[in-house]
Point group: C2
Chain length 515, copies 2
């Protein structure tokens, strides 16, 4: 139906349609307001009138005839200082959302070059300061986690939100410049058997059992069989990499583990990248290294990172020491990160075995104390360190076996790496993927993933939920590999936040899913 | 533990650590390969030797002594033509992943200025061409949906993947340039009552009932109470906007509806933006308009969009006609999109009521035929149209009531908009949010969302799961508003894909969650 053409739409729409709602275009004035960060950088030599700023009252200090109002808007760790006449200030409660208009004049104080002499106060969102859960004082991280909907308003938490945003933008730019395709792999998936631990399942809320109920009212599965929240997008990324070459994603992933640590959440973001037509692990490690170096180099001078490295320590936060965090940023900007095989690493650890509680043994995973030692010793305490070629039997089924096997090595290894950073251990992990059909099927049998063929299936299809993944190897699977970075862990490392629960705005872990 | 400093790490790491794995840096040669898209643009006047390209065999045409091989790598809709000696070509099956090396020479054919005269063939991933589900012929969308893991390898689907990537990058750039903070609101949430329809619930797979079982083995909820997959990030975005000002996200959202349409999925991405300190809807609509105009202007000349608008119609696809899609892109680049109130729109529709099957009535939602008419008539068949100020009682609880109410309007309205585009209807929707405590509580009561106070709760807290959202209004809630765009619908509109199931790599809807 296209009546418009018959009805001469342009003349009609002029009279009836456009711009009927005149007020929509009468609000340009609010665009003339500046952020606190912009104002703090603005140092005119003459007084400037009619300056407007929006923000939240952080504190009010009473003088005889005036009030000193400290205003924040999330754009800057440092607040703006505004001078308000006592009569105008009576509704300026801590936490209130206000619009202040006045003159921007150079300040006699040392903390700030200019301050706002306010002639007009508008309280746009009042606050009951007495009950406001965020006061201008030190709050423990544990307390702030009980009010996640208000926690972002603290100055340090707003810096962390801006850091996340800038990191996403920088990574998007990095991958776009290298013609990597950004993708959206699925969240609800068929497979629960990637060996990443306990998973969540999903069902329509109306089909779910109520606690305490003894009845199962799910008549049939919404998706015909049981489905899960993804634990990693890698397998789907591999399918996409066979279509468009190099791909990446920044996607939420989920674990239903009941662990209660500073490093685990039930819901978190993973950055994953997959490269097609790469013969060995070299280019994959190069990409991880280039990515983190590009990221840190592009942001180390940003005002957000300067806030983190210098200013945020004044505000009673629980971040790692500023020197330590600065060392992390500088380490990431360095060239030529060391690469050492797992077997050489174990040999090195065994030479120093008196330093460790756990004896380093070939074939076992590296303990946290081992990883810390390697980061310090091999990386010189500054550069990240790639540890490669772990034993096959402690790694995931999809990793490609190292060939030829080294005669000096006690058992089969796989082409994989963990990237270790000082004081923090693993920050990324990657591997070549087994791209050949028969070796993949062998590995799946070895890991107990390949279930017996379904009854009646003559083609060997199984109930593992991974038939499609095996299928990828039947038609044109070139050598490929990739890596994953726990995005929230990376942000914790970059910010100095001590627990991952405090880098995520609304963290979810066992027993906790507030808001 | 920092033994490194005592052990002089730099000297030790030189001998033990770095660069042990020499082969990691011996693979520079593969970086000298070019993508098909790059090669197709490369028109040297002289023959160039030692040119390498990676890709997948799309077809093989037999000549007497040679084979013409059509090679694709997802970078371009058009394939590269390679000339291979018959003896070298025996393993070049359709679907195989290959690396071809040879001379890049000008071609006598008209289709392509140059072709690759191949001297070396490497089959990196063989293919059983007879069983390969993607043949060089027309496949129906229905068939391709049965092989989602292979579907991205079709030329049109690889263009769609690249379009998604370029749109994400363009939007990231748009918002970063305007100092919007990109955020990651939670996926698992507490509330099921935003009125967006049926929701999914999550639980650890080990606690979930098996189908047909009569037992409920969930002893207690993993998160202490029932939790849901988010249907919209808006409520959380509002909390973040109170911390850092303007925010946005591109996040997966979920609906457990059993609808079977070309416009609905159980899992899809939403782009949502929220602006703080905006007095009315004008700046919110300006932002939506600027965003879509910036996006279309930045991409309309890209090779991906040129592939979509011109070339993809040659390959037996099911896309909307190229002229129609070109008109969509051009419409989005236009200035000054018309804005009309719902009430004026209904009056206009009533004047033309003989055109419609459903009688236009104030207080009812607009039917699809009404929206199509408005897009054509008010927008002139090219510009998108904002329809604003819908009746309060057919919109969500959180929308701010229009004040003062217009005496010409039969009932209360809210400050909201739907953005309509020709032939496609709603592509975005937004509103001012009720930022004041008491009007919000009234609206929640009216919508039946505010449940009676919990027993023992003297502060009026309820069991709605939205106490935190109400809380935001207690302490400093400025006027704010935002909008949401169904991201996959937007991509369908921009690409001409007729059903949303074909714009998502791994689509999920009722009964279907393959791979």
């Amino acid at each position: 139906m296209r009546p418009a053409l018959a009805l001469r739409p342009s003349s009609v729409s002029r009279s009836l349609g456009p711009r009927r709602v005149a007020s929509f275009h009468q609000c340009a004035s609010q665009w003339s307001s500046r952020s606190v960060a912009e104002l703090l950088q603005w140092r005119p030599t003459e007084k400037v009138d009619d300056v407007t700023v929006n923000g939240f009252v952080r504190s009010v200090r009473s003088m005889k005839t005036h009030r000193f109002v400290s205003l924040g808007d999330g754009s800057s760790l440092a607040p703006l200082q505004a001078l308000v006449q006592a009569d105008d200030a009576k509704d300026l409660a801590v936490g209130a959302a206000v619009r202040l208009t006045g003159s921007w004049v150079s300040s006699p104080g040392v903390a700030q070059s200019h301050e706002l002499h306010v002639s007009r106060v508008e309280v746009l969102g009042p606050s009951d300061a007495k009950t406001f859960p965020i006061q201008k004082k030190y709050h423990t991280p544990e307390y702030l986690r009980t009010v996640p909907h208000l926690r972002p308003r603290t100055p340090v938490n707003s810096v962390l939100l801006r850091l996340r945003s800038e990191v996403i933008a920088s990574l998007t730019q990095f991958f776009a410049a290298r013609s990597f395709t950004q993708t959206h792999p699925p969240i609800i998936t068929s497979s629960d058997c990637e060996g990443a631990g306990e998973v969540f399942t999903v069902m329509p809320a109306s089909d779910a059992p109520a606690t305490g109920s003894n009845k199962d009212n799910s008549q049939a599965f919404f998706f015909r069989s049981k489905k899960y929240l993804t634990v990693s997008t890698q397998l789907h990324l591999e399918a996409l990499a066979q279509a468009v070459g190099n791909v990446w994603t920044l996607s939420p992933v989920f674990r239903a583990e009941k662990s209660d640590t500073s490093r685990h959440l039930s819901e978190f973001y993973m950055l994953e990248a997959e490269m097609s037509f790469v013969d060995d692990l070299g280019p994959v490690m190069d990409l991880a290294e280039d990515m983190l170096r590009s990221l840190s180099s592009s942001l180390i001078e940003s005002s957000t990172v300067r806030d983190l490295l210098f200013r945020s320590r004044n505000s009673g936060s629980d971040l790692a020491p500023a020197d330590e965090v600065r060392r992390r940023w500088e380490g990431l900007t360095r060239q030529d990160w060391p690469r050492i095989t797992y077997s050489d690493a174990v040999a090195l650890l065994q030479q120093k075995s008196d330093l460790f509680e756990h004896k380093p043994t070939w074939g076992a995973g590296l303990q946290s104390e081992h990883e810390k030692f390697l980061a310090e010793y091999v990386g010189g305490g500054e550069k990240p360190v790639f540890v490669t070629n772990y034993p096959r039997d402690i790694k995931a089924f999809y990793m490609r076996e190292t060939q030829p096997a080294s005669p000096q090595v006690p058992g089969p290894t796989v082409d994989c790496f963990d990237l270790l950073v000082p004081e923090f251990c693993e920050i990324a992990g990657g591997s070549m993927r087994e791209h050949r059909l028969d070796p993949l099927l062998d590995a799946m049998k070895r890991h107990g993933i390949l279930k017996p063929p379904l009854e009646g299936a003559s083609d060997g299809s199984s109930s593992s939920g991974l038939d499609w993944y095996v299928d990828l190897r039947r038609w044109g699977s070139p050598p490929h590999g990739g890596f994953g970075v726990g995005f929230d862990r990376l942000l914790s490392y970059l910010s100095g936040v001590q627990t991952i629960r405090d880098i995520v705005a609304f963290p979810r872990w066992h027993g906790r899913c507030d808001c």
